[in-house]
């Protein structure tokens, strides 16, 4: 099961799906864009992570109706969204603490 704190690739995949449902290729591109090209997932890594998130019920899979090819797309479930919010809060807190400590060190 995916446990908090999440790894960076998993966090980026969830963030990508938080905005809108996406298919595999779109997730890869969005992750790359969000990380300014720093994180480039391979298809093997992406589908390994998607499989785990599906099994844990964080995301769900459905057939994209708009697409002529009927591709599979993924979206966040309420559990996934809640866990993502928890992780975002954790990171926010961590970031606040880090900023405070770094600023204090400056004096």
């Amino acid at each position: 099961m995916e446990a908090l704190p999440l790894t960076e690739p998993v966090l980026l995949i969830l963030l990508s799906l938080a905005e809108q449902p996406r298919h595999g290729y779109s997730i890869l591109k969005d992750v790359e864009e969000m990380s300014d090209g720093r994180v480039t997932l391979s298809t093997g890594t992406l589908y390994g992570a998607l499989r785990r998130l599906l099994e844990d019920g964080w995301i769900e899979r459905f057939k994209e109706e708009e697409s002529s090819r009927g591709r599979q797309a993924y979206r966040l479930t309420p559990i996934g969204r809640r866990n993502l919010q928890l992780e975002a809060s954790r990171l926010k807190h961590l970031s606040r603490v880090a900023n405070l400590r770094v600023a204090r060190k400056g004096f």
């Binding site: 595999g24 890869l28 298809t43 093997g44 992406l46 589908y47 390994g48």
Partner: protein, 180 residues
């Protein structure tokens, strides 16, 4: 390359391949088309990096899925744990890593022996003949693995005891001259 990718998908467990194989191949096809259409897509390194990343991801994913099928839990290579944990701790994954390294070394020895045997010797009487039946792979690997594992456990226990006793901090203590 797509054919090679599809072929390598057979490294995955059948159930996984059935569920995600086509989708993965579809995404790979799109990525490949994108790399080709990019400005530097015809240059060697960008393409090599792309294929290397994809095939490495595929192989590590297949290994991961097989280990999950065997053990029932998600195995992850412990490299990150090694860098994040204290050097005095003994990571649970160490035996797995040691087994993989030892298996690699023994396989290399086996291969080297086989290659050596395939060349005719100039003076065969000077060298003792290697008897392949005297060297069995699994027992040799088990003995080496157990010895290395025991040595590692003992080493770790010594370091752990030193850590618990605070011995490693002795150097940080101020000198006690002037007392007594």
């Amino acid at each position: 390359m797509l054919s090679l990718y599809r072929f390598l998908l057979y490294l995955y467990p059948a159930a996984y391949r059935y569920e995600y194989g086509e989708e993965m191949a579809g995404v790979f096809r799109e990525l490949q088309a994108e790399v080709r259409s990019e400005k530097d897509g015809k240059r060697f390194w960008p393409r090599a990096t792309f294929f290397l990343r994809e095939f490495a991801g595929l192989l590590s994913g297949a290994l991961h899925e097989h280990s999950r099928a065997i053990t029932g839990s998600d195995f992850s290579f412990p490299s990150r744990r090694f860098t994040m944990r204290s050097e005095f701790r003994f990571p649970k994954a160490t035996p797995i890593l040691m087994a993989v390294i030892l298996a690699g070394v023994i396989l290399a020895i086996e291969k080297a022996t086989a290659i050596e045997q395939s060349f005719p010797l100039a003076y065969p009487q000077q060298l003792p003949a290697i008897q392949p039946e005297h060297f069995t792979f699994l027992p040799a690997m088990a003995v080496i693995f157990l010895s290395a594992y025991a040595a590692a456990v003992i080493g770790w226990a010594v370091l752990f005891a030193m850590r618990r006793s605070g011995m490693h901090r002795l150097s940080e203590m101020p000198p006690t001259s002037g007392r007594n």
